[in-house]
């Protein structure tokens, strides 16, 4: 049996406090998928090469396969399971669905989380900025073009929603 020591860990995942007893050698990816059954986060290499396991740690995209879970004590972790607000899909999710931003869907969770971080820092990114931000997320199906278009569409939707909300307030 593997002899790795078990350690108590506190994480906030998708706005829920989680206390979990984990083997100290486990990565954040393993804890999310195996201990917390959040299998929406995928893995394509477990070596930090493909981006499929991207989640947000304190708002920043991280490769969960390269991060020890213990490095995430008290951190705010966002995964694909928390991207929708209950039954309200995030504009990125809708845009990917509508514009062919996914095919097999395996890289999609990582792609969406990276894109979310991008749009939170840059409301209307240029194509070059989208390419830069998402270049660490590999996809073998789509050829990326419809992914880029999806991110652009989502940015427009978010901006329009915010503008109309601002309009209502004023």
């Amino acid at each position: 049996m593997s002899g790795s020591k078990k350690v108590q860990l506190h994480l906030n995942v998708n706005n829920e406090d989680m206390h979990v007893l984990v083997e100290s050698s486990k990565t954040l990816l393993e804890v999310l998928r195996e201990d917390l059954t959040l299998t929406g986060t995928k893995h394509g290499c477990e070596l930090g090469e493909c981006g499929a396991c991207t989640v947000l740690k304190d708002g920043k995209p991280v490769l969960s396969c390269l991060l020890l879970a213990l490095e995430c004590e008290d951190a705010q972790i966002e995964t694909i399971e928390g991207l929708a607000d209950k039954d309200q899909l995030h504009p990125l999710q809708l845009a990917f669905a509508q514009h062919g931003g996914l095919q097999c869907g395996y890289c999609t969770p990582g792609m969406l989380m990276t894109a979310k971080a991008l749009l939170e820092n840059e409301a209307r990114p240029t194509r070059a900025q989208i390419r830069e931000a998402l270049s660490g997320n590999l996809c073998r199906c789509t050829g990326y073009q419809q992914v880029i278009e999806s991110v652009e569409e989502a940015a427009i939707t978010i901006e329009e929603t915010e503008n109309s909300a601002a309009g209502v307030k004023s």
């Binding site: 929406g40 995928k42 477990e46 669905a97 996914l102 073998r140 199906c141 789509t142 050829g143 073009q145």
Partner: protein, 832 residues
């Protein structure tokens, strides 16, 4: 019969941009891939893989591993006496090697333990004693005599198979041509690199039945392999194909790990899971064969081809896999793209101590397509004919037979060429851009499904069942497997269209050998066409049952019954209607429990010669592409700035998905053209001298990132094909084919050098530029095709020379036919 006119004006679902049915599940992370499955009491499996490329196994001592705490079971080759393999002619694999290992990565033993970490620890406690054998590292070595061939069924040395065919007298056709072009090309092997690593979970029930969930493109073939390798009735085995996280051909073989976990689960009575590491996925391979090619092509001054002689040599790696089929495919489809009056070919596949090659997107056809399209560019250059015009002059007529007896249906290639030429501004760019920038054109054609099953049988290639009941719910069942291409969406949309309901009303159950009728699998671009036709048949039968009941109830003539907007109505007076649910209730009252089936088998092939089963398809798609490149002469780096592509799809069922498939094909093509390569190298002698994979990681195996991907301008050409579901043809593979040669041709247009090899790396470009600067022939590529002793060619007379599709080796017939046939060929080509 109910009202059954379909046209693009009346389609409600088909042809409309639509969110695919599995999209929301995928964007929320809810889709369960194989590795997402976790079952109570589940154990984990890891495989010990050979560290030597070629060796006899002397002993495998598992005693220390078995004693390791947490280990439940250790299996070796002794536990698996029966061989299996995808093709009936090459049953050469074992779940775990028994006597011999044939490549670094061949599995030798399996550990099943409480967790992956423990299983990995135990692997290091297995003692294997090997007796090394000489390594066959290259095709050249494989062609030479050896004392230790990899496979005992090799024809000779390490030659797996040699094939030779002649469709008409090609020597004569070349002798009579105004010009004969002779060119050799090399296409390096590359791999699928689907984002999802292969994973499988097996669970046994107490009655002795077993279920395997797996990331497989072909649950039916896995089902057959399990039954054979485990020597148990197929009826007691259930294979469920999980949604694949990409396949591209890499999950079409039945895999050793699938059989191992199934056996382990049965022995332990507990669920067992395996998930391959990325490195293991690279070693599993089954990817694109490295192919060396030589083309000898006769051309007249007007640009018409008189005949072609093609030779191909494939590096098959260590096992058969789909290799015989791959070998045929390096030759069989050449006459589909362009009319060839006469055609002869020889093909040879060899075994080497490398991961097995197999089918990757385009299966055996991208390599010769690259060669022919680059050669056509050279021909156009020499004859001073525009490359687009040259190709337009050699397109076969629709609904014709090729020289090798393939039945071609609709051909939209001329329209594809016209479209990319006009959209790219070809006429203002070709030969007119400043040095360093260039455009290149190429075309391709691909099957919409293999006309022959992997194993000989007379049963349907795809079956669909539909269940309807008083709830108004419709469930459609089919063995087809969604590998990301959207086949579930195709299935649901076709049924939805026919029954006049909404996609949310139709549930689909796919890829489950217990529940779904057989579909052969997601390969050869067969699913949309074959499953689609079966689905339409099943749905129309359901509609007819409903229509007859509603006609009776509402007293309407049955051929006046229409289905739309969840209503069943009188097409003359739509106010006379009932809801779809009420209509199903009527039908259940009249007919009893409601279920229908549909099945599809491809039309009979016209080829009646042995080997004619590879190549026939119900219909073929066509594609043309123009690549725009910039070549940096200082670094040799080629940047593809834009791809213009037009694809003849027959009918586009969901334009969003179709465009995605086209762009995805372009993406993979640009990667293959410029960087993707599955290489091998020897470890230093001080280590082991073993032949290992050169780049078994996603960092080392170069693919395009979002940074590198050019803009793609897509045109979809729609000309419904009578053999396709609502006229649809394939799109998953064809669009890849023209990309590599279009880029090579664009590089020539930009800087005047020929790289007759794929991938076209900066090193090769620089080398060609240096040769050019030195005043030499600016070409990088193989100098010659190896000498191979070919068998006597099977001779088949082309249809226009009086051939009936049967083989004939009678030279007198050949000679007698010759004289009057050339006139016929000329007549036939003039008609086009």
């Amino acid at each position: 019969m109910s009202h059954r006119e379909y046209s693009s004006d009346t389609f409600r679902i088909i042809g409309k941009p639509r969110v695919r049915i599995d999209a929301l599940s995928k964007v929320t992370g809810q889709t369960l891939f194989a590795d997402d499955i976790s079952l109570p009491r589940m154990l984990h499996c890891k495989l010990l893989r050979s560290s030597l490329p070629h060796a006899l196994i002397e002993t495998v001592d598992v005693s220390r591993a078995s004693a390791h705490p947490g280990v439940q079971l250790v299996l070796t080759g002794e536990d698996f006496p029966v061989e299996y393999g995808i093709l009936p002619v090459s049953q050469d694999e074992r779940p775990l090697c028994r006597d011999k290992v044939r490549f670094v990565g061949d599995p030798v033993a399996a550990v099943i333990a409480c967790d992956e970490q423990t299983a990995c620890e135990a692997l290091s406690l297995i003692d294997v004693s090997y007796q090394p054998l000489p390594t066959i590292a290259t095709v050249a070595e494989a062609l030479q005599a050896t004392e230790a061939p990899l496979q005992n069924y090799a024809e000779e040395h390490n030659i797996h198979r040699r094939l030779a065919y002649s469709f008409g007298d090609v020597d004569e056709a070349l002798a009579q041509a105004d010009h004969v072009f002779e060119d050799t090309f090399l296409y390096e092997g590359n791999t699928h690199m689907a984002m999802e690593q292969h994973a499988s979970v097996a669970a046994t029930d107490p009655d002795g039945r077993v279920t395997l969930w797996s990331s497989t493109q072909c649950p039916h073939y896995v089902h057959r392999a399990l039954a054979k390798a485990l020597e148990m009735p197929a009826a007691h085995i259930r294979v469920i194909a999980c949604p694949n996280g990409g396949g591209f051909g890499g999950k079409t073989d039945p895999f050793n790990h699938e059989i191992v976990v199934t056996k382990a689960s049965m022995l332990l009575g507990r669920p067992v899971k395996i998930c391959l590491t990325r490195q293991e996925v690279f070693y599993c391979h089954r990817g694109r064969h490295q192919v060396t090619m030589k083309f000898r092509t006769g051309v007249n001054n007007d640009g018409k081809l008189t005949g072609m002689h093609l030779q191909t040599l494939l590096d098959g790696g260590a096992y058969g896999s789909y290799g015989i089929a791959s070998t045929f495919y390096t030759t069989a489809l050449q006459p589909v793209t362009y009319q060839l009056p006469r055609y002869s070919w020889e093909a040879c596949r060899v075994f080497t101590n490398k991961p097995p090659s197999g089918p990757k997107r385009g299966h055996g056809t991208p390599q010769p397509r690259f060669g022919q399209e680059v050669q056509l560019d050279k021909i156009a250059e020499k004859l001073q004919i525009d490359p687009a015009k040259l190709r337009l002059g050699m397109i076969a007529p629709a609904n014709s037979l090729t020289c090798n007896f393939l039945k071609v249906g609709t051909i939209g290639l001329a329209e594809c060429i016209d479209r990319v030429v006009s959209r790219s501004g070809w006429k203002d760019k070709h030969k007119k851009l400043p040095r360093g920038r260039g455009v290149g054109l190429a075309c391709g054609a691909y099957m919409s499904g293999a006309g022959t099953a992997i194993y000989w049988n007379k049963m349907p290639h795809s079956g669909v069942q539909i269940k309807l009941d008083r709830s108004g719910a419709v469930t459609v069942y089919c063995g087809a497997t969604d590998v990301g291409q959207g086949s579930d969406d195709v299935l649901v949309s076709l049924v939805t269209e026919v029954l006049g309901i909404e996609t949310i009303d139709v549930k689909c159950v796919t890829g489950d050998t217990d529940l779904t009728p057989v579909d052969l699998g997601s390969y050869s671009s067969r699913v949309t066409l074959m499953m689609g036709n079966a689905a339409i048949e099943a749905a129309e039968r359901a509609r007819d049952l409903i229509a007859s009941a509603v006609a009776e109830k509402l007293e309407i003539a049955v051929d006046h019954i229409g289905f739309a907007e969840r209503l069943v109505f009188d097409v003359e007076d739509p106010n006379r209607n009932m809801t779809f649910q009420q209509a199903v209730i009527c039908a259940e009252e009249k007919h009893g429990t409601m279920a229908t089936t549909g099945s599809y088998a491809p039309p009979k092939s016209a080829a009646r010669f042995p080997g004619g089963g590879v190549g026939p398809s119900p219909t073929y798609s066509y594609t043309a592409a123009v690549a725009e490149v910039e070549v940096d002469e200082a670094s040799g780096v080629v940047e593809v700035t834009r791809i213009y592509i037009a694809h003849d799809i027959g009918r586009s069922l969901n334009p969003v998905q179709v465009e995605g498939q086209v762009i995805g094909g372009v993406y993979m093509g640009v990667g293959e053209a410029l960087m993707e390569e599955s290489g091998s190298r020897r470890l230093p002698p001080k280590l082991s001298d073993a032949l290992v994979h050169d780049n078994p990681s996603m960092l080392e195996y170069k693919t395009l990132t979002m940074h590198d991907m050019p803009e793609v301008c897509v045109d979809i050409i729609e000309n419904p094909d009578p053999n396709g579901p609502f006229g649809a043809k394939e799109v998953g593979q064809g669009p890849l084919l023209p990309i590599m040669p279009a880029i090579a041709n664009a590089i020539f247009d930009a800087v005047g050098v020929r790289v007759d090899e794929v991938p076209i790396t900066p090193v090769k470009v620089l080398k060609a530029l240096e040769m050019q600067a030195a005043g030499h022939d600016a070409r990088v590529g193989p100098k010659a095709f190896p000498n191979i002793e070919w068998p006597q060619a099977m001779f088949v007379l082309p249809p226009w020379e009086g051939g009936d599709g049967k083989a004939s080796n009678r030279p007198e017939r050949k000679r007698a036919a010759k004289m009057h046939t050339m006139d016929k060929v000329k007549g036939a080509s003039e008609q086009t």
